[in-house]
């Protein structure tokens, strides 16, 4: 009556690699794999296209100026002589100023949030700070023009001149716009990133490290500064690099407060120019193909700068998350 041994006899799928193309096409899994693969490949395609377009459209300028482009100080559309030096200088100076302000402030705040504040307070404040990171750049520019520039002119500038006026950084007339103002606006913009990432990195430091330090008689501060922070050192560095990369690429807020003058000056009160700002200002009116090509070459330079920094930042952050730092007590 019954069969002796019920064997389930599906047509067993042939071993991989031996299926016909048609049957692979109709298999849902393979199709899904293919479709998603295509989209992932699209990202690679877009990025390569981006680099290609930057490269190709800057050919005129690269061919004409070569490496000299990087340290030529003139930017003269009339005679067709273009150089990147004032813009690289401006980009770096504003970024450095912003870091000098934002890193101590941000790191201190992150330490407070990670080590001292009760968890709920820390979480709520971190939430608020993440919101600060979402504010668009042009709004910082708006605040820059109407709040910080007048403040710089009437209060901050004169104060710095009376206290630190002997330094070459603070000599010269104070217009309100300039490197320092741009640096301050940038600092406000990057502080949230530093706090956010540093706080998370500090929170990953194992409890035992702190307890060990305290057990040896360290004060709270000593345990934080000499044990916890060094442990998270690479991650914190990563957050700084990330913030730096953001500061380098920032366009609108800077162009509204920097004074738009392609000059290299020692004084922080002087007006300057950054790569992003000059592209924003002059792109639509670059008469002549060499002019446009020079601007695109500047874009390429900016791209490379942020590319390298972002790469370093990722490596550092990942390194902390994986293995933790060294140099603990």
């Amino acid at each position: 009556m019954g069969t002796s041994a019920t064997t389930i006899d599906h047509a067993a799928p042939p071993p991989a690699g031996q299926r016909s193309f048609v049957s692979r096409l109709t298999d849902g899994d393979e199709v899904a794999h293919l479709i998603t693969l295509v989209f992932a490949a699209a990202i690679l395609l877009i990025t390569s296209l981006l680099v290609y377009e930057l490269w190709i459209n800057s050919t005129l300028s690269r061919a004409k100026f070569g490496w000299v482009f990087f340290w030529t100080r003139t930017w003269d559309p009339v005679s067709g002589d273009f150089g990147a030096a004032p813009f690289i200088y401006g980009t770096l100076v504003t970024a450095v100023v912003s870091l000098v302000i934002a890193v101590p402030l941000g790191l201190a705040a992150a330490i407070f949030l990670a080590e001292l504040a009760p968890r709920r307070v820390s979480d709520s404040i971190a939430f608020l700070i993440d919101l600060l990171a979402a504010v668009p750049s042009v709004i910082y520019g708006l605040l820059g023009i109407f709040v910080i520039v007048p403040l710089m002119r009437t209060t901050i500038g004169p104060f710095l001149k009376t206290t630190l006026g002997f330094l070459p950084f603070f000599k010269g007339p104070n217009y309100g716009v300039g490197f320092l103002t741009a640096g301050i606006v940038l600092a406000i913009m990057i502080v949230p990133f530093i706090i956010s990432v540093s706080r998370e990195v500090l929170l990953t430091v194992p409890r035992e490290q702190r307890e060990a330090a305290m057990g040896l008689g360290a004060t709270r501060w000593e345990s934080t500064w000499q044990v916890v922070v060094p442990w998270a050192r690479t991650g914190v560095m990563g957050s700084i690099f990330l913030a730096l990369a953001r500061a380098l690429g920032e366009t609108m807020a800077v162009t509204m407060v920097i004074g738009n003058d392609p000059k290299i000056a020692a004084s922080l009160f002087a007006p300057g120019y950054t790569i992003a700002a000059v592209i924003a200002n002059e792109f639509t009116e670059a008469t002549g193909n060499l002019y446009l090509s020079a601007l695109i070459e500047l874009g390429l330079v900016l791209f490379l700068m942020t590319f390298i920094l972002n790469g370093l930042a990722r490596i550092l952050i990942v390194a902390t998350e994986r293995g933790g730092g060294h140099g603990a007590a």
């Binding site: 998603t36 877009i46 792109f283 990722r314």
Partner: protein, 284 residues
Amino acid sequence: MSDIRLVWRKGLNIVMLTLTGVACFAVVAVLFMILGYLIWNGGKSLNWDFFTQLPKPVGEVGGGMANAIVGSLKLLGLAAVIGLPIGLMAGVYLAEFGGSVFSFVTRYTTDLLNGVPSIVMGIFAYTLLVLPVKHFSALAGGMALGVMVVPITVRATEEFLRAVPKSMREGAMALGASKWKTIATVILPAASGGIVTGMLLSLARVAGETAPLLFTAFSNRFWSPGLNQPIASLPVMIYTYAIAPYDDWHRQAWAAGLVLLAMVLVANLGCRLVLNRRGAYRSV
């Protein structure tokens, strides 16, 4: 001797810890001042005209930014249509199908794309979509923003897909579902909360971008029909009005700033609250 050293160390402890508190307070205070100043200045500048009228000729008082508000929404719509599918699918690939080398390269490239300054994105969109067809267009602006949307969406999708517990996958497999069916009917829905918020966050991020629009979408004094005409947008209007000398334009710039900030913050707040409350996923 050791007493003095101890006093010094204890003193330093209190000073430094207080300083960190001060720093934190300072940062939060700046945030509140920024928001407060913007709400104050923007709030008193908002009026019904702002939302319903087109800009008036130069130097005349009044008018509004109705076209810029709709323009921003339109550009966001374009960015979503262009960037979200790519981000979603690529995220699915990385989480579910990836081979090791190709995945690594894709992830690295996505990170790279994320770090590209927005003005460079503008140059890219210009060379690709403005030069060849010889006009500024909403489409070019939408494309520049769309490319910026991709990296955040990819990362959010991948993260939340990976966070779905193995048990759900294994359960589906045990019921005989093929891989793609599992993804489509079980895993994606489970991770949908996180993914959707990731998408909204990416859109909120590009809503405020100005630089890539300066020479792609350009700007428009009128309504912009279709996809091939220049289009006004809130960030570009804020920029144009802020650097001009007319007081009435400044007033409108504050109002626009408030509207833009409200859009961005509401999206961010909403997303983060949802994420915190529901956790990373929800069961089907």
